[in-house]
């Protein structure tokens, strides 16, 4: 004790003539050391317990289970999967299902959210009140409750397979899902896909060219309409030129249910409905706040320059509002993705239901399975926010 004391005392005395206790450098180092030591201690304690507990209980550990046969079936598989596939396949199926419902949900929620957000600012009293009613009800009721409600509602509204609704020829709607004809490509159908890709690339190029030309010369070019036409017409043209190489396999009522065709499960419909309506309520508020944040002077300035209301909205209000909207919008997108994990309550086979549910139960390897599930969501979250941060930097106001 004494030598340490005298040594540090001298050291402190050299520097400022006060105790080492008041030296911020020393304090910083000591404090960080204590924090790190405590953290390492806690983690080691948990890891040691987990190890001994797993050994004692004779539970296998490691990721070896990934290559074993799964032996169960999944109701919605976008990736080829049978009960002979591996657990890793099952994991992929769940992951793809999560990404599917999250991405479609984000699209729908954004569209509804923007419409409702603008409606909340409408001059029209009825529309404004309707939008507010929507937001206040959906925002303040737990999502899980809404999902259970929608699932129940979807199931009770739709008829049984034998009394299916047939809104269009070959399309059936019943409580087993929405049954669509399956598209079967014949040789040559690949060209249509390439044509679509080419059209998208061309539309993108045209819009860049039009923008550059407008900046340089002020001449405008209807790039949006031309682009859309390209995207629709080029694949269509290819379709006819190659001699319509696509067959539709219609579903048929056989025994209990329709056989063949593509099925959109009611679980998927309910989850999509619940997620997008709920998130749309939040997006609506973000959009409203974003538009309100653009000062009225901007609109007036645009009007006094002779811009029409539509152009004002398009060129002045929305670009500025987007800067306010994007950061909170990102976190809503992330919330939607994370909330899609509630699928487990209504039986949609997302990653939590398939992997942290069935696979966990079959293998008993809770630690590995839950950590992997968390890492998947973490990866999705971090990469989405990285992308949105990049986009946000692009639209952000560049000052000086």
């Amino acid at each position: 004790m004494t030598p340490v004391s005298s040594a540090s005392g001298e050291h402190a005395g050299d520097e400022a003539g006060t105790s080492w206790f008041y030296n911020p450098r020393v304090r910083g180092v000591v404090f960080q050391f204590l924090v790190v030591a405590a953290l390492v201690g806690v983690v080691a304690f948990f890891a040691y317990n987990a190890k001994t507990n797993l050994e004692r209980a004779g539970i296998a550990s490691g990721l070896g289970f990934f290559s074993e046969r799964a032996g169960f079936d999944i109701s919605q598989t976008l990736v080829p999967y049978t009960n002979d596939s591996t657990y890793f396949r099952a994991f992929l199926v769940g992951l793809v299902n999560t990404l599917l419902v999250a991405s479609i949900g984000i699209l729908i929620a954004t569209v509804i959210g923007f419409i409702v957000g603008v409606a909340r600012l409408s001059k029209n009293f009825v529309i404004r009140q309707l939008a507010q009613l929507y937001v206040e009800i959906l925002r303040n009721v737990p999502l899980l409750l809404q999902l259970l409600f929608w699932y129940k509602a979807v199931l009770s509204v739709l008829p049984s397979p034998r009394q299916s609704l047939e809104p269009m020829s070959g399309v059936f709607l019943n409580n087993r899902g929405l049954i669509l004809p399956e598209v079967i490509g014949q040789p040559g159908s690949g060209l249509i896909g390439y044509a679509l890709l080419a059209a998208i690339a061309a539309a993108f190029g045209i819009s860049r060219w039009a923008r550059a030309r407008q900046l340089a010369t002020g001449k405008q070019f209807p790039s949006l309409i031309v682009g859309l036409c390209l995207i629709v017409l080029l694949p269509l043209l290819t379709f006819f030129v190659t001699g319509m190489p696509v067959d539709l396999a219609y579903a048929e009522l056989k025994g209990f249910n329709f056989a063949g065709g593509m099925v959109v499960n009611p679980e998927f419909m309910a989850l999509l409905l619940g997620l997008s309506l709920y998130t749309a309520a939040f997006i609506a508020e973000i959009v409203r706040a974003g538009i309100l944040a653009v000062s009225h002077g901007q609109t007036e300035a645009a009007f006094s320059l002779g811009l029409r209301p539509r152009r004002t909205l398009q060129l002045v209000v929305i670009p500025q509002a987007m800067r306010v909207i994007i950061p909170p919008l990102t976190s809503q997108y992330l919330n939607l993705t994370k909330n899609s994990s509630l699928a487990v309550a209504i039986g949609y086979p997302d990653i939590v239901a398939v992997f942290a549910g069935t696979v966990l139960n079959q293998t008993g390897q809770a630690v590995e399975v839950i950590i992997i599930t968390m890492l998947v969501y973490l990866t999705i979250s971090l990469s989405t926010s990285a992308f949105m941060n990049w986009y946000n930097r692009r639209v952000a106001l560049v000052e000086r």
């Binding site: 004779g58 032996g71 169960f72 309550a345 086979p349 239901a353 069935t358 079959q362």
Partner: protein
């Protein structure tokens, strides 16, 4: 009764009181004064709270029998309702002393989970239930059907195997919790409900119109359900195992809760050994010699337990079938107490 919410939490905060659970479970149970039993969250006939909030059912009575053997009090037991996912972890970590939760005895579970199955308190098998209006009479007609099934069970795997073996297709609809499966089947989301046959009868009772549904005759798997304990404590393993055997032996010898006191003076040497009039059988497993008499007095013999909870006179109305005594053509067979 003391407050269990925080004791150990407080201890853990300071790294104390982590008394090893691998010490003799019997001593632990005796020290705390009650048995902690892992049960189902609610399956009529096996483990479900009744209107007064008391747990009842075949599995529950099995727990009560163990408590009666130890404490001479069938109520010295507390129930921890467990989901299918939690059940093995709860037993492995010592949260419960014994797991009696209609759990199927399989080789994997018996060997790789660090657990021991002590016997079979109900021989079950997986069956199918469908709506009467579908006019289905055999499971082999189910090709193309949507099947509601609970995840985390052997059921899901049996289902896959059965349809595969018979070259049939099906559409699985999988849920995490029993209530969710019930609700989905009731809402006509699927054509077929599959689970253990006993479960089907109890679930049918909870549907909106029980009479509209029929259980198909096929049984597609063996599902021996029984109590489970941790490995490594042979004394405790023996207590749980022989509690069940004592109940089966009692039925075979005609000892019931009503006549157990008269039977004490019986001349039959087997009965004398069972009831502890003769021999030191109770002490050999760390209990008192009248352990079996206590079980029979408080809970009854196996037949009484069966009839009371799931038998023909209950709403479930299940016949003894394979669960009859071996002497009556069933599978319930207990080694002799001798």
């Amino acid at each position: 009764m003391t407050n269990k919410f925080l004791t150990i939490a407080l201890g853990a905060a300071l790294g104390l009181s982590a008394t090893a659970a691998s010490a003799a479970t019997l001593d632990d149970v005796k020290a705390k004064g009650f048995l902690q039993c892992g049960s189902n969250t609610g399956l009529a006939g096996f483990a479900a709270p009744n209107d007064a909030g008391e747990w009842t059912g075949l599995d529950v009575d099995t727990c009560r029998a163990i408590a009666a053997a130890i404490f001479d009090d069938p109520n010295a037991v507390k129930f921890t309702p467990l989901t299918a996912k939690e059940r093995f972890t709860a037993l492995q970590t010592g949260e419960v002393d014994v797991l009696v939760r209609n759990t199927t005895w399989t080789m994997t579970r018996d060997t790789t989970l660090g657990l021991n199955f002590t016997g079979v308190n109900y021989y079950d098998g997986q069956g199918f239930m469908v709506r009467k209006s579908l006019d289905v009479t055999s499971a082999l007609e189910l090709s193309g059907a949507s099947v509601c099934v609970q995840t985390g069970t052997t059921t899901e795997l049996n289902l896959t195997d059965y349809f595969k073996a018979n070259g049939m297709e099906y559409q699985p609809v999988v849920f995490e919790k029993l209530e969710e499966v019930n609700a989905a089947y009731d809402a006509n989301r699927c054509d077929v409900y599959t689970t253990d046959a006993s479960g089907l009868y109890s679930i049918r009772l909870q549907l909106t119109n029980p009479a509209d549904h029929v259980v198909l005759p096929e049984i597609i798997s063996k599902e021996p359900l029984g109590p489970v304990v941790r490995q490594g404590d042979d004394q405790w393993f023996n207590i749980v195992k022989w509690t069940l055997f004592a109940m089966v032996n009692a039925e075979e010898l005609g000892v019931t809760s009503a006549n157990v006191d008269e039977m004490m003076s019986s001349d039959n040497p087997s009965i004398k050994r069972l009831l502890g009039v003769d021999g030191q059988f109770g002490e050999s497993i760390g209990l008192s010699n009248d352990w079996a008499a206590r079980i029979i007095k408080h809970v009854g013999n196996y037949g009484e337990m069966f009839d009371k909870n799931v038998g023909p006179d209950t709403p479930l109305g299940i016949e003894r079938g394979v669960n009859a005594l071996w002497s009556k053509g069933g599978l319930q067979y207990a080694p002799p107490i001798r």
